[in-house]
């Protein structure tokens, strides 16, 4: 037995949908973080509930990147794959995300019934130069799985992985009982635990390597949280009192989390009849003085556009969270993408004004609602928070967030929230189209708001000068933000051959890519935007210090059609910016690929 020492490693468990891969991942995760390890987790979730077993669309799995230090992204390639059968493995090999020296543990249980299919996939592995360690679930365990109606295989695999990653058999068992404890009957629980121990034993007897995972004591209070849960908690801490949404993947889990937790903190969860109604009720609530949010994903953003324009003109605060997924149209609901930038920026008709905040990790997810609330109440323009499938579903270990507990006055928001988003507090007085902005119920402040153009007294007005003034006033609100923006976050030297630029969830990959570049002598630096619109005023000066400026985006673009961020940056700076990576594959960008592409550009 060899014990390989790896400071950072990545593995994945691949199974059929509905057989518990996510659950096994959760348990492993709990055990790893209990050992003081850092993790970054990406679930692979099919868009259907129960796609046919042993089919390519059935692939459901979990990718876990494990390190002794904070990891900011899902990384590059997988070192170990445990696959329940040959088809899910074959499907995953398509993504080309494995190390050449990766090891594959393949359950041969289905081989007898599908010899040709197994042979084909094994040949593929040989051709790719990756080694396969075939194994069979022991006969006793097979009987138990049958008794459990086909369930429990995940715990067997969990046992194998627990052994391989050098985990204490008892600690993981505790994690299992913690996870299932109350839900399973005693006898069923016992059977599941037998499967777990049998898997552990099988790996001990048949697998000839282990990966050392060390236990560390955590220096500070840390939490394990995913993006959507962090956003939900952030909404509570930011003093939002109404959630208004319509079920849509991958935004729904925010509604689920708040449905359970919000009332205890004085908040209401409203499941609307459709996406338009959802934003309408958020608008109505904020109009009446109760901070509200509407949360959606791509198709829902398309549906909400008319109300976004209305909120702009009526000067009603509005926070809209868009957890992006692969588009256009229904696209790939459970895959990540960053292609809603233009829909947020230009989706509603006419010159509506807005601020677009993006999130790059679970910490941003927590504080974006605070900043959004501050900005929307100060400016009375819609504020978007753009997240995406990857950020929403990725678990991370982070230092416990400092709470803000926002009340009525948004000015009490602490400086560190602004600093996180690279902007200053707004100090100047913000002019509104209408001088009076009273809330219903305010004595003597009666007023009517409308989507029609109005003068400063709120009276409907169709005159040329007045309409031009309304535009100018609304845009000045955004200019206040523009002027308050500092330089975005930078990685690497402040003058270089190449500058790669990204926003939102690509931050971790950009940071790590620049670290790799530095290590390998590749002359590249990185830039990342948390606030994507408006953009800071000094961008052109920063770009001038680099010979080439290129974007990294999980969105489509090519040489004739710039990807969304490239298009925006070109328009705003007149710098000849092209995408370095503009891929809408549904997969997150990888640091090593970024470096490779930079090297190609520099050739």
């Amino acid at each position: 037995m060899s014990l390989e020492k790896r400071p950072v490693t990545r593995f994945e468990l691949l199974m059929d949908a509905g057989t518990g891969a996510q659950k096994a991942g959760d348990i492993l995760l709990g055990a790893f973080v209990g050992m003081g390890q850092y993790v970054y987790v990406e679930p692979m979730i099919p868009a259907e509930i129960s796609p046919p077993a042993r089919s390519r669309p059935a692939l459901s799995g979990v990718i876990i990147r494990l390190a002794d230090f904070d990891v900011t992204n899902i990384g590059n390639d997988t070192d170990l794959i445990l696959a329940a059968h040959e088809i899910v493995l074959d499907r995953r090999l398509d993504d080309n995300e494995f190390n050449t020296n990766a090891q594959i543990l393949l359950d041969m249980g289905d081989q007898e019934a599908n010899p040709e299919s197994y042979e084909m996939v094994l040949k593929r592995c040989t051709k790719l130069g990756i080694s396969v360690i075939p194994f069979d679930v022991d006969p006793e365990s097979r009987v138990i799985v049958k008794e459990l109606g086909g369930k429990g295989q995940n715990l067997y695999y969990l046992g194998m992985l627990a052994y391989i990653y050098n985990m204490d058999e008892e600690i993981v068992q505790k994690e299992i009982t913690k996870t299932f404890g109350k839900k399973l009957k005693e006898d069923i629980m016992a059977k599941n635990l037998t499967l777990y121990h049998n898997g552990y034993r099988l790996a001990k007897e048949k697998v000839f390597f282990r990966v050392e995972v060390q236990s560390h004591k955590r220096p500070v209070e840390q939490i394990l949280i995913d993006g959507n849960t962090s956003m939900s908690m952030g909404l509570i801490d930011a003093g939002i009192k109404l959630f208004s949404g319509y079920p849509i993947t991958p935004a729904s889990s925010i509604m689920h989390t708040l449905a359970k937790n919000f009332p205890a903190y004085g908040g209401v969860v409203h499941q609307a009849e459709d996406e338009i109604a959802a934003i309408g009720t958020a608008v109505g609530s904020y109009y009446a003085g109760m901070p509200a949010v509407t949360v959606t994903s791509g198709p829902g953003l398309s549906l909400k556009q008319e109300f976004i324009g209305f909120a702009t003109v009526a000067e009603i605060p509005l926070i809209l969270i868009d957890v992006q997924r692969s588009g256009p149209s229904t696209g790939m609901p459970t895959k990540t993408e960053q292609s809603d930038l233009m829909a947020a920026l230009c989706g509603s008709h006419g010159d509506y004004t807005k601020v677009i905040i993006s999130v790059s990790n679970v910490i941003d997810c927590f504080y974006a609602p605070h900043l959004a609330r501050y900005l929307t109440e100060k400016l009375r323009v819609p504020v978007f928070i753009l997240s995406d499938f990857q950020t929403a579903n990725s678990y991370k270990v982070v230092t416990k967030f400092q709470l803000v507990q926002m009340k009525d006055n948004v000015d009490t928001i602490p400086d560190f929230v602004f600093e996180r988003f690279h902007m200053k507090r707004l100090t100047a007085t913000v002019e509104m189209v209408r001088t009076q902005q009273t809330l219903p119920g305010t004595e003597g402040g009666m007023r009517r708001i409308t989507g029609l153009n109005t003068d400063e007294n709120g009276k409907v007005n169709y005159f040329a000068d007045n309409h031009q003034r309304s535009h100018a006033v609304r845009n000045e609100k955004i200019h206040h933000v523009r002027r308050a923006l500092g330089a975005p976050e930078m990685f690497g030297a402040d003058t270089n051959e190449v500058l790669i630029v990204g926003w939102g969830s690509t931050r971790g990959a950009i940071e790590e890519a620049i670290y790799l570049c530095k290590k390998n002598g590749v002359p590249a630096s990185g830039m990342h935007f948390r606030i994507v619109y408006p953009l800071p005023l000094m961008l052109k000066e920063i770009f001038a210090k680099y010979k080439k400026v290129m974007t990294v985006e999980v969105a489509y673009g090519d040489m004739l059609k710039p990807s969304p961020l490239a298009l925006l940056l070109r328009a705003e700076t007149l710098v000849d910016i092209h995408p370095l990576i503009a891929e809408a594959t549904g997969r997150p960008v990888r640091p090593r690929i970024i470096m490779k592409k930079i090297q190609e550009v520099l050739k």
């Binding site: 509570i236 109404l242 209401v268 309408g280």
Partner: protein, 306 residues
Amino acid sequence: MTTETVSQPAPVPITIKELNTDNPRWCAGCGDFGIIMGLKRFIVERQLAPAQTVNVSGIGCSGRAPNYFNTYGVHSIHGRPIPIALGVALARPDLNLFVHAGDGDTLSIGGNHLIHGINKNFKCVFLMYDNEVYALTKNQTSPTTRRDHPTNTQPQGTFLNPINPITVVLGLGASFVASTADWIPDHLTNTIKAAFDHPGFAFVHISQRCPHFDPNNFDHKNSNWFSFLKNANGIEPDRRLVGKAEVIEHDPSDLAQAFQLGADDRRYFGLFYQNKNKPRYDDILHNLVTKAVKKDPSKILDSFLI
């Protein structure tokens, strides 16, 4: 942003004059004048504080209504006043809430919200301004335009039978369904009164004249083509028309008869149906909050600690 603004009742008596703003930009003879006057009379009669009153509307001629009340108001977008009104109801259940919607708002672009507003049964008075035509966009067929009536979009004559608002909302399970008309002011005000006192979503259908595009639609000078519904638990027939228009007895708890009357070719004004016991979504959500065991907001992350 303050969520609990408490305001005092108006110190001086509210009069119609104080409720007026600008002169409405409606055509002479438009039924909308009668409707907003009916609501103003009710506000005066009840002395509802203007600061505590919110009118929410959609788009079209009727959409302009909130602009002509010196109360709070939202002139929103086409078909969407119900979602906005629900937001107001959830944020400020203490406010008096009136929704103004045209036939297009109600039964065409906003149809889905009508279904769910009725099902949610949140507290508001819903006034359907039904002039049976799209007027502000200049004479197009609406969901309630009578068959064969020519419009700019169906000049050969409107192709389909109109949607019947009364049977539709009865079918949706509305807890309050009443019908009135813009030219019978006493009945209109009494109907709004009954609707305001109803604990839930009160649907009021208002036949509304459009003298510009369809001057012959409602023969408001004659009363032989409609009947009033009368009952101890209903709405009084219009005083001026007693003896002129037919009056029939109808018990508003009789849903089957309400359907029959609603489906009839003859028009009936009065209370078709009322059920004061239907659950209210706004109450349910507010109770969830008030009855929830409060948690310490300084500990929201504790369950995620490693």
